[in-house]
Amino acid sequence: MNGNTMIEVKNLTKRYAGRTAVADISFTVARGEIVGLLGPNGAGKSTTMRVLACFLPATSGTARVAGYDVFHESDEVRRRIGYMPENNPLYPEMRVREYLRFRARLKGLGWRRSRQRVSTVMEQCGLGDMGRRVIGQLSKGYRQRVGLADALVHEPELIILDEPTIGLDPQQIRAVRQLIKGLAEKHTVLISTHILSEAEMTCNRMLIMGDGKILAADTSDNLQRLMAGSSQIVAEIAASAEELREHLAQLPHVAHFDISAVDGTFLRCVLTPRDGLDVRPLIWLLARERGWLVRELTRSRHSLEDIYVQITKPREEEEEG
């Protein structure tokens, strides 16, 4: 493991009484990355995070954070991570500033340093004038910010956020997302979510989990390229149907096509290319050669959602206990 690796998970398995939550997963996260952990409920995201945060031990396999083993050197690891668990548990009877100071001191910051850091993170998380408010009376959005501020207060190298935007309204989600993006400069972030658009917007790289396994791991662009094999080309061309059919059938790169009438003289062709090849130039050349009018020529890219559904589909959902 070199100095650039933040998280290194090797053959990690976690079994709860009679049930395997995480089955033999391996992955690495480099310093400075924002990695999204995606998957349906019960896929093993939270369990993986809990192991990384030193809350649960692995049944087998190893996990290292910043070079330290999460089980044997858990003190060193815990000093280096800021972890926000699912549902963001807080002490409702404490005031915001009081809570954050308590957490800062608990994480080993000195008295003066903790005051300083608490003010900084409160500013950073938009809690500027909330210091005197009792946590139990805050709205969900503000509570989430308190949780984030807590995760950041000791300037951890790695930030682990378990479903940080769950239960927030769109405005708040946007604010939290902006905040997470801002963290990327200084920290490595591992964030779990089952909302795809969120991962797509914030993360450099994604790990898609299902049934305790990692089903796919790549950047969102690469994941989309991976699926391009089944992408389709849509073309709207003004030509007679027979002529079009005849010429399209001659194109060697087109595996399959459908033609349907749209309006007037235009026909809509949906082509499935062979080997994920982009046949749009060929279509255009053909149209120019024949003197056809073309008004649309697009490739339908699979959205991350399609990929996600496709990858996680065959497995049955199981509720996490």
């Binding site: 649960l56 031990p57 089980f71 815990r78 807080l90 009877e93 608990l106 080993g108």
Partner: protein, 250 residues
């Protein structure tokens, strides 16, 4: 040590910022007041050779307070944190299991001591009114307080353990109440069973919490009783520590 201080402060805040804390203090003050009334009535009727602290103890409110208050004080400590999930944030901070157990226990003890303060006021009033120094000397008061403290340690440690193994506060309170009452009743068993086997009654007599506390209230400090309370307290704290650690090997 600094972490211990931070945790202790947080636990104390939780006690004194919660309604439960004040309800316990109010209820205990009421019970102490009742026993004070009984005490004053007894003092007024016939002369007694007993020290005032012993009379105080013999009003039986003492055990009612200990047996009821200890589970309620301790039920919150772990069970609430587990059910709300804050246990996870707590244990993923760089704190040791031992520090957590020690801080929570220390906070419970401090609250327990504060809870007994009204008794000191009652004793002071008696002393002031009777103007008899013999009725209430430093030895008996010291014995009474040492006994109260030791009994408290034991029952609070028991409560800590019950809370550490449960996820709900109610379950924690019930477990520690049942354990506490059983422990308390164990001492009477020695008297109940006839002297068949010597060693059995002898072992059971060590559990005679009622008699031991009676001695303390008379100002008699028996080393055996002190060792008994201290070791049993440590034993339950050790179990609590193991219960907190158990997430690592389960």
């Amino acid at each position: 040590m600094r972490i211990f201080g931070v945790l202790l402060r947080r636990e104390l805040t939780a006690f004194f910022l919660s309604v439960t804390g004040y309800i316990i203090i109010a209820a205990v003050t009421l019970l102490i007041g009742l026993s004070f009334v009984v005490l004053i009535t007894n003092l007024g009727t016939d002369p007694s050779p007993m020290p005032v602290t012993e009379m105080f103890y013999r009003t039986y409110f003492f055990w009612l307070i200990v047996l009821l208050a200890a589970p309620i004080i301790t039920m919150r400590l772990y069970a609430l944190e587990k059910s709300t999930g804050t246990f996870e944030t707590l244990m993923t901070a760089p704190v040791g299991d031992f520090q957590v157990v020690a801080a929570k226990f220390a906070a419970a003890i401090i609250f327990y001591i504060v809870m007994w303060l009204p008794m000191a006021a009652c004793l002071f009033i008696v002393r002031h009114l009777t103007s008899q120094t013999r009725a209430l000397d430093a030895g008996t008061i010291g014995g009474m307080y040492l006994g109260t403290f030791l009994v408290g340690c034991l029952f609070l440690a028991l409560g800590c353990f019950a809370s550490a193994i449960s996820r709900s506060q109610m379950a924690a309170a019930m477990i520690s109440f049942v354990l506490g009452v059983s422990l308390f009743a164990l001492g009477f068993l020695a008297e109940a069973i006839p002297v068949v086997a010597q060693w059995q009654t002898q072992v059971l007599s060590y559990f005679g919490l009622f008699e031991q506390m009676h001695d303390f209230a008379r100002g008699v400090v028996d080393t055996r009783a002190v060792i008994f309370y201290v070791s049993l307290t440590l034993f339950f704290l050790f179990l609590t520590l193991r219960a907190v650690e158990s997430r690592r090997w389960r």
